[in-house]
């Protein structure tokens, strides 16, 4: 019943064919694993790696884009600030210029008005002087005639005459005489 021999006992195969069967079956599994199973799994792993790497790259690209946008925004902001400052400076300078201009104009205008007024006053004064001269002459002559027509020996009378004359002058409306 037992083909096992002597000292080796169960260490010898019952049938030598067991060895061959084991090897052949194993080689078939190996072949399938080699040609089908491992390539399929490895392909999937490679794809997975690629996908993860692609995801990382995508994220990195997005990050870079965001950084670029932020830098650009900051640059724009800085430019805008500079421009605002410049505009403000300009406005200040312009305002100052306008004020100075206006002041200058006002000064010129006021001096023009002043000189006009002066000229007018001078002219009126001149007219008044001329008129006064003529009137004063006439008055002086009238006064003199009155004085002479009265008695000249009474000093008191002479003085009264002068007073009266002056009072007449005062009662008369100005400019008529």
């Amino acid at each position: 019943m037992l083909p096992l021999e002597g000292a080796l006992g169960p260490l010898l195969p019952e049938h030598p064919e067991e060895l061959v069967i084991g090897i052949v079956l194993f080689l078939i599994i190996w072949f399938v694993a080699w040609k089908v199973v491992v390539p399929r799994f490895e392909e999937m792993y490679a794809e997975r790696t690629e996908e993860i790497q692609g995801g990382i790259e995508k994220a990195e690209a997005a990050q870079a884009e965001a950084d670029a946008a932020r830098d650009e925004y900051r640059a724009q902001l800085a430019t805008a600030r500079d421009e605002a400052a410049r505009v403000r400076e300009d406005a200040k300078a312009q305002g100052a210029a306008i004020i100075a201009d206006m002041r200058q104009q006002a000064i010129e205008e006021s001096s023009r008005l002043l000189s006009n007024a002066k000229a007018q006053i001078d002219a009126e004064r001149a007219t008044a002087v001329t008129q006064l001269r003529a009137e004063v002459g006439g008055l002086a002559i009238t006064l003199a005639g009155r004085i002479i027509g009265e008695s000249l020996d009474d000093d008191a009378r002479a003085a009264r005459t002068v007073d009266r004359f002056i009072a007449d002058l005062e009662t008369q409306p100005a400019g008529r005489a």
Binding site: L11, E14, H15, G22, W30, V38
Partner: protein, 274 residues
């Protein structure tokens, strides 16, 4: 015994007591028609191989980068061999040897688990011929890998002469290293696998067959009363479940060890230095 239905009978039924070497005899499937090596154990080895192939074929179909539940199972098993065994031991060269290691691990694992599952209840590799077959494959693999990398004599020198050995020790070291690396390695590989499963199956048979005999005892035996014998039978059968669990573990561990050692031998055969 024997006959075409031998494979489908509860295999532990009708065992003679005590279990022994004879319990591992194969039953020819077609005695007198086909040669005796066409037996139940060859059939279960074939079924094991088919299961392995079908399993991996199914698992590797429609693989997605985002795994489904099924793929997660397949990937976990695949990456156990790929990452924990092949890549960790072989480094960047692992891809070339991965199919061999994957086939080795899954073929041994399935056949070992046959020892604990109905229909077979027999670990294929407790037939030493199958264990020698795989050991021979592993031996060819690591030696050929070394020869391919370093040439025949380069590999022999690499395998038998560690760097830095003084010349007067060569006469001692070279035969020892040759024995250890070329002769003993495949023997221990095959023996370890065989002996673990052989012994485990024997223990299971002692508890299951012996327990059954005790449970079905009808007459006092060696002075023990029948109720005592039946109680012992129940205990024995209950304890056999623990042994079954242990054997599941042993079967998985042996598949792992065989694969790891094969990878280790390949790694040492193609390593650049000792």
């Amino acid at each position: 015994m024997g006959g075409t239905n031998g494979l489908l009978l509860l295999p532990l039924e009708g065992e003679s007591w005590p279990p022994g070497e004879h319990s591992f005899d194969s039953r020819p499937l077609f005695p007198g028609v086909l040669p005796d090596w066409v037996n139940n154990h060859a059939a279960q080895a074939l079924i094991g191989a088919l299961l392995v192939i079908l399993f991996w074929w199914w698992m590797s179909r429609n693989l997605k980068t985002v795994p489904t539940r099924k793929q997660f199972v397949g990937e976990t098993l695949y990456s156990l061999v790929r990452n924990s065994i092949a890549r960790d031991i072989l480094g960047h060269d692992f891809r070339r040897y991965l199919p061999f290691l994957l086939a080795l691990f899954s073929f041994i694992l399935v056949n070992n688990l046959f020892g604990e599952f109905a229909l077979f209840m027999f670990p294929t590799f407790s037939k030493i011929g199958y264990a020698w077959g795989l050991a021979l494959c592993a031996w060819l693999l690591y030696n050929l890998a070394g020869i391919r990398k370093k040439g025949f004599f380069g590999y022999l020198k690499h395998a038998t002469l560690p760097a830095g050995v003084p010349k007067f020790l060569w006469i001692l070291i070279i035969p020892l290293e040759f024995l250890s690396n070329i002769i003993v390695r495949p023997l221990t590989l095959g023996l370890r696998l065989f002996a673990n499963l052989f012994a485990g199956h024997l223990v299971i048979m002692v508890f299951v067959v012996g327990g059954t005999m005790l449970l079905t005892a009808t007459a006092p035996l060696e002075g023990f009363a029948v109720p005592l014998l039946k109680t012992a039978g129940v205990v024995s059968l209950l304890f056999s479940f623990a042994i079954f669990a242990l054997e599941l573990l042993v079967g998985a561990i042996q598949a792992y060890i065989f694969t790891v050692l094969t990878a280790q031998y390949v790694a040492s055969a193609i390593s650049d230095d000792h």
